[in-house]
């Protein structure tokens, strides 16, 4: 097989994947709306700080006033509109970084577990299951408590709480692939472990890994917003949708917008990501 052949088959594969992602077999309206909402919220979160020049930490007027700016002011008179534009970035970035880390590590460990001898696999699975038992919020609180005020600690905490699930999923898929015969054939003809993983295992677990990454991202968004809400990570006065909800509860009756705006954004973000990830795993399962 020439290099050109492999490229074209790879392109055909990508086309195939795109086709299954784009073509529809369930109510498309909801999906399109969800995707639009998700894209808008993520763009607002990432690009928000460029949209406004106003400083999200400066006091501009009376506390919890609904007269100043688009969305009024918060408890110490800061402009809610500019805080909303600044408050999503860390949530989305933390979630993305953690998902990338958890998926990469989870794939490595999962493939290892899937190919390892039964006893080794059992021990690793028991250890990861142990972390699954533990409420994620508790792990998040404990880990972030060790490094107050650091977003990196939140990334680490979110990665560690989602990693066990990744290892479990990838491990079981790898075990299926490994029992399919062609891995044994490849081993028997003398292919090294690296070659087998690269050419026989990884291409076949890619779909489930992608679907799993989607589910991990949902969990990561949830935990990242929750970390903000609990005051973990880069602390006050920096804006964060999760923390804004907590901060603005006391003023909810005088300036509801300060409380409702971040609430709606977190709701839109987590819901759209959740529905899209569910769709992705349904499609991967169908293939």
């Amino acid at each position: 097989m020439t290099a050109a052949d492999t490229t074209s088959t790879r392109e055909a594969k990508v086309d195939d994947l795109l086709l299954t992602v784009v073509s529809r077999h369930r109510a498309p309206v909801l999906l399109v709306i969800t995707a639009l909402v998700g894209v808008v919220v993520v763009v607002v979160a990432l690009a928000g700080p460029f949209i406004t020049l106003a400083d999200p930490t400066r006091t501009v007027g009376k506390p919890f006033s609904s007269e100043i700016g688009w969305l009024g002011t918060d408890g110490i008179g800061r402009d809610v509109w500019s805080r909303v534009l600044h408050g999503g970035r860390s949530i989305v970035l933390v979630a993305m970084t953690a998902t990338l880390a958890a998926t990469t590590l989870g794939t490595l460990l999962g493939v290892g577990v899937g190919l390892a001898r039964r006893r080794v696999a059992a021990v690793v699975t028991w250890c990861t299951d142990l972390l699954v038992v533990f409420p994620a919020v508790l792990l998040l609180l404990l880990l972030a408590a060790g490094f107050p005020g650091s977003d990196l600690a939140v990334v680490l905490a979110v990665t560690l709480t989602t990693l066990p699930y990744s290892v479990r999923v990838v491990g079981s898929v790898t075990r299926q692939v490994a029992s399919n015969g062609y891995v044994e054939v490849a081993r028997a003809r003398g292919d090294g472990l690296g070659r087998v993983i690269r050419f026989d295992v990884l291409p076949n677990v890619a779909g489930p890994v992608l679907a799993d990454a989607g589910i991990r991202f949902v969990a990561a968004i949830y935990l990242a917003a929750l970390a903000g809400f609990l005051g973990l990570g880069t602390g006050a006065p920096a804006a964060n949708w999760g923390r804004m909800i907590a901060e603005n509860v006391p003023g909810a009756s005088t300036n509801a917008a300060a409380f409702v705006a971040p609430l709606v954004l977190v709701l839109a973000l987590s819901t759209s990501v959740n529905l899209l990830a569910d769709e992705l795993s349904a499609r991967v399962a169908d293939r």
Partner: protein
Amino acid sequence: MRLWRLVVRRLALSLVALAGLSVVIFAATEVLPGDAVTAVVGPDATVEQRDRARLELGLDRPVLDRYFDWAGAAVLGDLGTAYVGGRPVGDVIADRLPNSVLLGALALALAIPAGVVVGVLAGARPGKRLDRFLSTGSLLAIGIPEFVTAGLLLAILAIGLDLVPPVSLVPLGGGPLDAPTIVVLPVLSLAILPAAAAARLIRASVADTMSSPYVETARLNGIRHSQLLRRHVLPNSLGPAIQVLGLAVGAIIGGAIVVEALFSYPGIGAELSSAVGTRDLPLVQGIALVLAAITLLSLLLTDIAGRLLDPRLRT
């Protein structure tokens, strides 16, 4: 007696798991002991004061020694003394835990029946409009963080309609039940997630049973749909679904930490987040250990209950 052997085996495994989790808890909280000193003497303390506090707290000793001291005392029921306020950690937990148990029990009592009803309705006719509606609804509900649900309920029920108080203030010298309206918001916010999770699990189990050959046979015999559900489907799909209980307890413990903090409800979860805020390590470790033990216990109990309810595993 196979059941007894099973119980003993599971109990032993749970204890090993608890020991493992105690290592995780200790390691996660002890990585930066410098800040624990600040929690005790305050940020303006002199170097001598800090050194003295470090000695008094025993933080100059090797980590392994401190872990075994802590874990050894914990086995005997002594969880140490809280830095802030100087009360024994066990007393603080004994004070707050009943309030949280009340919250969790009410949430469970609401979530499980709701989840079973929704799950059975959805799974009884898989793929039909009602199923699609309920399945999408429960999927949506699962993806919403508790603090957002809690915030929405707060905005609507407490601020919009003014039906319940927005903050759970317990009357002085009384318990949460002396002012029953204060538990409404926390319980509702806690119940939605496990209810949705239970509904999805039970829906899958019921839909699975609906497509099995013996249900098909019963249907071909002309049995009515309601009777089919009651006599043939439910007994065979609710047994496996017992694991939702363990799942729900886990979700409620995680949720309680968040929800109690939001509503200032005087439970163990709110205590934990405030202890994390003040870096009160003995209190954080003690509460985390108790929560881990409760989670493991609920998993153990649902596991055993699942075995008892599944006729194939009975002897």
